[in-house]
Point group: C2
Chain length 458, copies 2
């Protein structure tokens, strides 16, 4: 009889196991079906992009966007919606930037440029100097002070197209935009102009953040469209002595009050244990901020809608966090992490979506090997929806400050082929977002949240 | 000593195995890197789409496209390039179609329509009748002759958005376009107007092939844009008695000579054993045929270029087949299969690419379980490039006639989210194709061909 009871117990536990799995599959199928049938997220994205474009931290557009998102969440039958205050740095682009090539041999040409975010201006009169092109840090170093002093350095290292994951290419080239000004100023440059960080060959300039290094003179930095970068490179070959005129009236202003926007559905069993997810509301001043990161914002809100509309009552508290200031100083991320620590909150996991509303294929997971293995067990449930990638790796800048608290961090990973075509450029418009691709992201996060809520990963 | 020799043999074989794998990985990495660095395929696609749009079988555009592809292959240092003759059916759309809603209550409205491919015309005077809307075969049947005789049937079953793989949704809805006319004519309808097979809500009509059933009267069939379909449905709710006027002068003409275009790189070891791959050159008359299937054509040509430029000498013969007439009667597919049979050729495998130049994620494989398992062994080599899906399933209509000969058939499977946004519509333009996504397809086929050439799968 003993053997029989063991067999029975085993059978029951296997049956229970199967039941759970079948339920999981059914719920996940419902989540995807509901998400793919609905246009709410796309309509939200269109509204956000067209009413509050250029909503960089500290701008009026950002303040209006905070109000709009708060109102949207308040209409959603959540258990609470509130603001988390923080201070953000403020920068003003000033008048439209000018960059003009002057060459006796090649003629006079306007370049399509923008000041890189947080660049100093050139002064009202602008600056004018010969241009020296470099394609690597080694070339810069080799030129040295003799080749650079008094000149404008043209950083023209293209993004390497050979990587499958375009964020890898970005990682290799971004130094030009972020640190190029200080690197060139070390050798006496008076300005820099940087090839836009995109593999698209078009006429949009791509901005982004830059940082000046301490005790190095702060010189103005522009981004130039890839088409104009190629032209400039060609003209320089014909006339190495051509002059470039740059003018920008950008400047930093006093810090401004802003907010993260937070909404919650309280857990029925363990309301003190939180599953957080979010994207960032701020977007560069010259963009609509559709893929970066309006998509992440509306997807995170959509997760709440899916739980409510499907009548799923979570056991733990679901918290959507709409972060402020990701693009500049991650003050929203810091405020959120400090709040979690101060309140001694328990998080089961935090999920970030900030890689565009493209077809997702998995999660990068910053957690123990054991946790990654537990999550990977759900691969079979996700596979019918093209989700197969569950790998240990970095998450995202809005949740990384939660890492010291031992919280498992997940980042939604999407098809990255088109991301840098539009990132930080005027071409990042809602019209370039596909509703189905966007909603696959919403459904993937909602499904992960559902599974995290129903199964222990620790 | 015996045990030692076995261990040594094992070690050597393991080492050999590892060497092969490392080589495979290196070559595959080179293939992807080269493909992602090059714009040749995109330039070919742009040329094909802008110089030979609307190249449906039998058209002048198709004839010009055949010449252009032949010339392109002849410039490529292949071992042979030749044409495979075949006869294609020819159909002429005639004058721009007209469809006008006439309602005392709702006013007069033009609808954006096109005749479905191979529809009969309405006669010069057009036809006019009340409209009856149906959303399923059951609704049609329920209406019966009493509800349908003398009327125009409006098929308005939307594609089901809840499937992840949009070809599944297409499969469920395509009957309206393909067989709707005959189904309605059975009950005495005088014409049909069919909601375009797309999930996009826009104002493009989507054409495609239709078939009349024997001994049922042939009535004219139009496709209507989804926006106009929604409008028409709304007007019908307000005025169930509204009239629709349809006019089309489309007609079938005599058959025309056409060709498959074939190019080969002869194998160094087994030139009589062939790995074939291709897409179809013909495209609907109202489209540029970019995703369907200019993408497949240029990808297949790109495979040849990649082998040549990387200096890879295949052991078996590589054959690119640019098929004619996929959209209508697959005469190219039939001619090719008949040729293979008549010449008693041995094929190691045939690969079709006809699901758009979107990011690929794997292959659907029509072969024995054993062959599928062998191919799945390469998953690890492909995974760094997002290729993870290797499943037994249907291949494609241009290679399926090779199945009776026992040839393993593979179809490149791509991210299908955007495919039906443009399929068979004027919106299927090269500008909507992303170069990286397109080239990932070229590289994935080239890598599969390389692995098939180097490892037995049978």
């Amino acid at each position: 009889m003993r053997n029989l009871s063991i067999s029975l117990a085993l059978l029951i536990s296997l049956a229970a196991c199967n039941t759970v799995k079948t339920d999981d599959r059914t719920v996940v199928r419902e989540i995807y079906a509901r998400a793919l049938s609905d246009s709410a997220a796309m309509k939200n994205l269109q509204y956000l992009c067209t009413h509050f474009p250029g909503r960089i931290g500290g701008s009026d557009e950002a303040a209006h966007a905070v109000k709009w998102v708060t109102g949207l969440l308040k209409q959603m039958d959540l258990d609470t919606v509130y603001l988390e205050p923080l201070m953000v740095r403020k920068w003003d682009r000033g008048e439209k930037e000018i960059a003009t090539v002057n060459s006796e041999k090649e003629g006079k040409h306007e370049l399509t440029v923008c000041a890189i975010g947080w660049s100093v201006g050139t002064g009202n009169d602008g600056i004018s100097a010969p241009v020296v092109e470099v394609r690597s840090g080694e070339e810069l170093k080799a030129l040295g002070e003799a080749g650079i002093r008094g000149k404008i350095v043209f950083f023209n290292q293209p993004m390497d197209p050979t990587h499958y994951y375009t964020f890898d290419s970005y990682g290799e080239s971004a130094w030009q935009r972020v640190y190029g000004a200080s690197e060139a100023a070390k050798y006496g440059a008076i300005g820099v102009i940087v090839r836009s960080l995109t593999m698209a060959r078009d006429n949009y300039p791509h901005t982004g953040i830059m940082h000046y290094k301490d005790s190095i003179p702060q010189i103005p930095a522009f981004a130039v469209s890839t088409l104009c970068a190629d032209s400039l490179s060609g003209w320089l070959k014909q006339d190495p002595h051509l002059n470039l005129f740059m003018r920008s009236t950008s400047r930093e202003l006093a810090e401004v009050q802003s907010y993260n926007v937070i909404g919650e559905i309280w857990g029925t069993e363990k309301p003190d244990e939180i599953i957080a997810f979010g994207g960032h509301l701020d977007a560069w001043d010259i963009t609509q901020g559709a893929q970066d990161d309006g998509a992440g914002v509306v997807q995170s809100i959509e997760v709440m809608r899916l739980f409510r509309e499907l009548g799923i009552r979570p056991k733990h508290t679901l918290r959507v966090v709409v972060f402020m200031d990701e693009e500049v100083a991650q003050r929203g991320a810091k405020a959120y992490a400090e709040g979690v620590k101060a309140r001694n909150e328990k998080h089961l996991a935090a999920i970030e979506t900030d890689r565009g509303g493209f077809t997702p294929y998995g999660f990068s997971i910053d957690a123990s090997v054991y946790t990654v293995a537990r999550i990977r067990n759900w691969q079979e449930i996700f596979q019918p929806y093209g989700i197969w990638f569950f790998q240990q790796g970095g998450s995202g800048v809005d949740i990384r400050d939660l890492k010291p608290m031992g919280i498992p961090l997940l980042a939604l990973v999407t098809d990255s082929q088109r991301y840098f075509d539009v990132q930080h450029a005027p071409s990042d418009t809602y019209a370039r977002v596909n509703q189905r691709e966007l909603q696959l992201g919403s459904a993937t996060i909602a499904s992960m949240v559902y599974l995290l809520d129903n199964h222990s990963i620790q």
